[in-house]
Symmetry: C2
Subunit: 299 residues, 2 copies
């Protein structure tokens, strides 16, 4: 390991991954379950404090579940805001870590973090406009447009777009507490569980649940392609572990777009247009580490 | 008029607007119906040629209907590509004008042009991430993200997202030749005409057609807000001339989002968040003029 290293925290609703290092092949990492904020942040501090004491650590980046307040002029900058996740609502997340370790901390959404990881080290190298989607317990989306991570008014909430819901084929009413049958309400892991009465990882690969899932994801990706015109679409998350899902999604996106988007990338080479994260499950924590490197830069 | 002026062309499927000048209050303009490419481009040349001869004109910007090829490395850069509009398909639009007038020409989509106009002179001053929608014969969307106009793989085709279609309430199957009942297929002027058997401008303001139209536009804007997180949404186009439509759209967007996007801009001040173009019908041609000013800049 080089002298100066960075810290990265992938803060998920289920687990935290922490790492110190400089690059994907130069990392020390650990992970633990997400419990109460006090206990979880305590474990984060414990992991990093020896590196801080030895003055090895330059900065820490956090790629976090949300929603987050990312407005640097806001009094609640760096907070996790109105999350339904017990006891994490309105937690002063970034500042707690910054204050206890006395080191600069950068924060962004988990999906923007993963997008940055893919941009620097993975499947989005050389691109300035692409999106990163994750389909797990929830549905998240972020990315980079015109060379910078997506922010705007707050940050994207791509899981909450409305999509066609064929009630005859799919009588499940959706699980989103805000919108019922929005994209996340119909297609996230929690929705699969609500719909089929079992965890997605226990649903056999040839169960019709996956055909429906592919249809919803394909509509969502169609919408994101038409809205943003990304140069690539990266799709990660636990549900994509079903090896049949990605090919089914690609086929349906191609069918749905119906050659309207007249680019060879979509019409002739969709295997390289809609892809898995090149960094796999490491995209988030590597992206968090890259966020740390961006402190004082305009990314 | 100052010595050095710019030219702007708003190239629409129905009419062309051409202008020379430097600013909204310093313009000479003309307009004519869009007919064949030869005849229409002939009129464009006639309008500008005297300014060129007198060496008053620095450059011309075109804000055009599409789809367009905007890839500067492509052999068909500046072409109108696969438009269903008779005889305009695969027309070498930008270069024809550039070659005949011997002056630099910039080209972008009509909606990106209008967005740039609003950014420099109108309702998007000071913002770096916003969208511009137009609801007329068709449905178009563009805008600026992270301070640059939206491009990516090609350019946005926001009219072609899929939205929920309640067949019981609305048995019309949609007019999009590619996707049937996509957003444009259900909610553009041509769709209103197909559905109700009369031109939208002849449908009384209190007809239920407008309630349905407001519902579709609200879902679309909800989706764009969740996907991009714009700092403002500007909505122009002929259909918005119905004075009841904008307030109905705002109310429905607020209801649909259901306070999920926790920003005062959306929850407390939606009148200033979803707005009409400050430049009104002039946004397009003024934006085209601004495009001319960007030649050799990275916008």
């Amino acid at each position: 390991m080089t002298d100066k290293v960075y810290g990265g925290i992938e803060a998920g609703g289920t687990k935290f991954v922490c790492a110190v290092g400089t690059a994907p092949d130069n990392l020390i990492k650990t992970q633990f379950a997400t419990t109460s904020p006090d206990e979880t942040i305590g474990k984060v501090i414990n992991f990093f404090k020896e590196y801080v004491r030895q003055k090895l650590l330059t900065a820490i980046g956090i790629a976090s579940f949300g929603p987050l307040d990312l407005d640097k002029n806001s009094p609640t900058y760096g907070y996790i805001t109105s999350t339904p996740k017990d006891s994490w609502s309105y937690i002063d997340f970034a500042r707690k870590i910054q204050n206890r370790l006395e080191i600069p901390v950068a924060i962004d959404t988990d999906v923007n973090g993963a997008a940055l990881g893919e941009h620097v080290w993975g499947g989005a190298r050389g691109l300035d406009t692409f999106i990163y989607l994750t389909v797990g317990t929830g549905f998240g989306g972020g990315g980079m447009i015109n060379g910078k991570l997506m922010h705007g008014l707050l940050h994207p909430e791509m899981g909450h777009i409305r999509i066609p819901h064929d009630w005859q084929k799919d009588p499940y009413s959706g699980c989103c507490p805000y919108h019922g049958d929005c994209l996340e309400g119909l297609a996230c892991g929690k929705a699969m569980e609500g719909h089929w009465g079992q965890l997605p990882e226990n649903i056999p690969f040839d169960h019709p649940a996956w055909e429906l899932e592919a249809s919803y994801l394909a509509i969502a990706i169609h919408n994101f392609i038409c809205t943003i015109s990304p140069q690539r679409v990266i799709v990660g998350g636990g549900l994509m572990k079903n090896p049949g899902l990605m090919p089914a999604v690609r086929r349906k996106v191609e069918l749905n777009l119906n050659e309207y988007i007249s680019s060879d990338a979509v019409t002739k080479d969709i295997e390289h247009y809609i892809v898995s994260p090149a960094l796999g499950d490491m995209a988030g924590v590597i992206g968090a580490l890259e966020l740390a490197k961006t402190i004082n830069q305009d990314v």
